[in-house]
Amino acid sequence: MMNRTIKRIAWGVMLLALVLYPWLFGIYYTNVFVTFAIFALYAVSYNLLLGFTGLFSFGHAMFFGAGAYATALALTHIEGCPLLVALLFGFFGSVVLALLLSPIVARLAHSAFAMLHLAFGMLMYTLALKLRGITGGEDGIGGFPIPPFHIPGVVSVDMTDPLNFYYFAIAVLGGSLWLAWYLTKTPFGQIIVSVRDNDKRVDYMGFKVPQTKAVIYALSCGFAGIAGSVYAMFQDLISAAALGIGHSFAPIVMTMVGGVASFAGPIWGAAIFAMIEELTSRYTERVLLVEGLVLIIVVMFFPGGFMYLVGLIKGKWLGFIRGKGFGVITGQWFTKRSGKKATEDDS
């Protein structure tokens, strides 16, 4: 029982901290926190595919971008479009894109899945650059009105004030993170984790693997769409850069550094990179250089990532690994030359 009350207290303290945060740290750090929260959801949505289902994508930015553009377009073209409707546009924008791709994608695995996403990611980036009419090309879409959070007759909160937007963003992003966490606890969450460990066996337990992959794919991309949508509203601008390759690497790097074998890993990864960005940008522009070095060091010396270290300190292995292993994903796919030999050593 102790465990449960400690958990409750921890959640209480965290919520209190979230509410008081802007007063404690001022507007600049509030904005930094919102950016961190956006990337936390984006990285968690990515890890739903990688850490939980074993699908390795190089093009997750196209869903982040799809959500952002959908929201931006909704706010620019639809007169008086309410805030939440714009957000839903973001969510469904990326879900639709995911559903369009899923027939091809659900059949693929391993490198084909990764590379096809690299290619489609590039396609979307180029479309965003070239279809000037719709996407505003190089400089993207900006300056669209951010509608107030409006419940007729009850309340109307002005969203241009960073403080109000902070609470709205935390509510939306926090809520989405909770939903994603809850998803991993449901029976469907068990099935996707089994697909990661051994998709052949899942077929022989009576579950349809392609359909499972298609559903988790749509959900994960939807969450990325929400992150993109909040990002668009937060920046009041969205450009093709949000779809670029660099943006597809961000969740990979955050997940690997945070710890791929756990739900909270990517959140820690996003926090670590937010800190690196804050600290290094003070001294040098070469933020990416530091991030690259951090990534190499993590992969070389503690591939389990931050969560593995947390597990070490706490004396028990966190994540799915008990005993042998670094909190490292060693599902069938991830062992190179995954032919017969690999399974023999794996058993």
Binding site: E344, D345, D346, S347
Partner: protein, 237 residues
């Protein structure tokens, strides 16, 4: 003693597939390792060659312990390996497959009866006609010959042969058996893993019979003949 295995232990993950395995092969001798499937016969050969890292035990080749060495070091000491399922290179021609067998490209010039391409073709005439075609197009029997020929090109002093007659039609089984007989005559020692008792008994001087992960019997062919109970328990239906 040419090759000596002492108290070898090998694991696949948590499965203790080789428990204290010991055997020996002397100069020019043919020794057979028998036993039903899944007893660890192939794992023994893989552990000797180093394709599978043994966890403990010694592998003495001419007195030097090569346990744990990477395969290319173990093989360069003078061991030839003909794997289970033959594993010839499908995209390479027969000629190229054979050339792959040459150790580090320095054929033993000095050695008068070193294995050359022609000598291999003498032993395996069928390969001579097919020398230009790709490995993937060969029949099971031809692939088996190619696998043996390939390892001979490296002038081994001892040849580890893993289930040479598996999956071959009965007629071919005896052809492969005769080939191994000729190779024995050239003085190459052979450690033969084989489930076909008749083939093994007709080739080997000494026989080891394996039960699950351990040795059940060690002795000459005559001694095994005198022990129908061993045959009954570990080899037959």
């Amino acid at each position: 003693m040419l090759l000596e295995v002492k108290d070898l232990n090998t694991y696949y993950g948590y499965s203790h597939v080789l428990q204290g395995m010991s055997l020996a092969v002397d100069q020019g001798e043919c020794v057979a390792l028998l036993g039903r499937n899944g007893m660890g016969k192939s794992t023994t050969l893989k552990s000797i060659v180093g394709l599978v890292k043994p966890r403990s035990g010694a592998l003495l080749y001419k007195g030097e312990d090569v346990a744990g060495y990477p395969p290319y070091k173990v093989v360069n000491a003078g061991i030839g390996y003909v794997p289970e399922e033959r594993r010839i290179f499908p995209t390479l021609t027969v000629l190229e497959n054979l050339t792959m067998g040459i150790k580090g490209g320095t054929r033993d010039k000095g050695n008068p009866n070193a294995w050359t391409m022609d000598r291999v073709f003498e032993h395996f005439p069928a390969l001579k006609e097919r020398q230009g075609s790709k490995g993937a197009l060969l029949s099971g029997g031809e692939q088996q010959m190619l696998a043996i020929g390939r390892s001979l090109m490296g002038n081994p002093e001892v040849l580890l042969v893993d289930e040479p007659t598996e999956g071959l039609a009965p007629l071919l089984v005896w052809e492969v058996r005769d080939m191994l007989e000729n190779i024995k005559k050239t003085g190459v020692a052979i450690l033969l893993v084989e489930h076909n008792l008749k083939v093994a008994m007709s080739l080997a001087q000494r026989i080891y019979v394996m039960k699950k992960a351990e040795m059940a019997f060690a002795g000459t062919v005559e001694e095994l003949d005198a022990r129908p109970d061993i045959r009954e328990k570990y080899l037959e239906v």
